[in-house]
Symmetry: C2
Subunit: 333 residues, 2 copies
Amino acid sequence: MVTIYDVAARAGVSTATVSRVLNGLSVSADRAQLVLDAARELNYTPNRVARTLRRQLSELVALVIPDIENPFFTSLARGVADTAQQAGYSVVLCNTDGDVDKERQFLDVALSENIAGLVLAAAGPRSDVAEFRDRGRAVVAVDRPIPDADVDTVLIDNVGAGRMATRALWDAGFRDVACITGPVDIVTAVDRARGWQQVLDEVSDRPRVPGRLEHADFRVDGGRACMSHLLGLPDPPDAVVAGNNLVGVGALQVLSERGLSPADVGIAVIGDLPFSALSPDALPFVSLPTREMGTAAGAMLLERIAGHAGPGRRVVIPGELRAGETPRAATSA
Amino acid sequence: MVTIYDVAARAGVSTATVSRVLNGLSVSADRAQLVLDAARELNYTPNRVARTLRRQLSELVALVIPDIENPFFTSLARGVADTAQQAGYSVVLCNTDGDVDKERQFLDVALSENIAGLVLAAAGPRSDVAEFRDRGRAVVAVDRPIPDADVDTVLIDNVGAGRMATRALWDAGFRDVACITGPVDIVTAVDRARGWQQVLDEVSDRPRVPGRLEHADFRVDGGRACMSHLLGLPDPPDAVVAGNNLVGVGALQVLSERGLSPADVGIAVIGDLPFSALSPDALPFVSLPTREMGTAAGAMLLERIAGHAGPGRRVVIPGELRAGETPRAATSA
DNA sequence: AGCCTCGCAGAAATCGATTACAGGCTCAAG
DNA sequence: CTTGAGCCTGTAATCGATTTCTGCGAGGCT
């Protein structure tokens, strides 16, 4: 392990001078050259642990997400990494698996590692980031707000996304549109369902069929279970809004297994299906700009690390409807 | 920030005693209790940076992968995290995006952060982990071997997987089976193509059609491009082996867009399609035990961290063929 | 009684960087 | 010629833990 002492000895200067050269503080040109030569010859790399201990701030940024196997969050991760790495920070990703205890652990570790910043997609409604703020650490909430924490927040317009998906199905002629959304304690799930409900309240002149709102977990199996249940009803709906990408996959799988297509039972998905094996215009979906959400969160985090004060800001990014030409006929070719 | 000095002061003992209590070294019962009480009252958490600096070893394990958006690698990550977290290590994930320079950066950071161990799915054939070994850091290669490095390695039986996929198509009656695999500098891609070639060499009594092997990148767009090219040929193949999951998705998308199904052009995929929106037996695929690969790698890493010496071990895990009842008829219902 | 061993606890060194402080030098102004 | 300002530079403190070393006191053995 080559340390700053080795470099100092080789260059014939003090460690203070070496440190100053490497950090761009004023040092006479001749000595600076000696130090740079010595550092290169010894292949010196500063020890980040020592630097972090002294500076009380590391060059790491943590991104904590609830489901690493969901393309929604990995795309988000790409966005955060894009901005943070450009600024010289290394992004480390932590997967909580939706478990608030695991999340608590990761947050403790991040705090104790003196990380420069935290981007958090909270596992539940009770995440506590007060200690980060107390110690002046930058925090940005992404996808899911953190209650009672005055932090920068980047969100999807989930109500709007729910509205778009529902509207697309209604406009395509479906009249009994169900909704499979996520757990009741996840705000995004509730908001998307609210958008669905709003549209139905607006367009429908007759009383709606009860029991059309299902809460799955936000995974493929959850979508499968609820879709099977809906299709097994004596009076099944003629269309379904899938509350997220994975629920959509589950719903489509059930459809496919029963030999049905999105022309028979309408499906609109809130979220993208990058690995669906379907042509992109096989069904309507609301594309969510996850990567942009990540870059926005990363940019705000960098501003905070750079010292931006002031109250928490809030950015809401709209989804975008992408629909096949004629959903009903999309797969009939 | 509450430090060990605060705890020591409150308990009326020295910092050495606090440290010993918290690390389970022998301390008299009465003092131990004083320390524990003080630590609890102050809500003390040891500073990991200081600990790492002194111990020269952190409690972090790094997992470096080339594509975080590929479910293959995220599933792998789950496996590694499962084992490592049980042993008290926090896993941080680093996405190189297949870029050897980014990989180099992450490895430098990991080294400089004194991480306890590294699980590496190499971005290219020239990754250098010599420094890790020199400093006694644990390293495990996963999915892709690291040339010239004597490290533990966990691999898929890629040749075997290529064979299974090809055999499945042949057995289903396809006689002109092409192969879309990954870049020539990725060993897994070459091995899978080799398995394809082996089977064709064994079964075919007539000369094969040339130009049936395509090298895509290992992404959806790569699969799309090559599939389009193959289908556009004057004499297109009647079936295709997709070299990985994403290439398979791309190929299936092209098929779907052209109004074709896996009954028209046979497709066998090496890898799983967790988000395909197709029923699991719509087409034959070779399921790859990625999560098990991760747990195996994690277990070996922990052994090395615990001090296991000896030469690099090699574990090869076979894939498993999953085929629909009758591939040709799978989507005709 | 005297000596040795053993266990426990505190003082201080240590990990490897950054940085406050102080000393020395140069140069310009008075 | 003297004094002060300004710029480098080195010494040493510092970040917060762990761990070596040293010393103290109790207990056992001869």
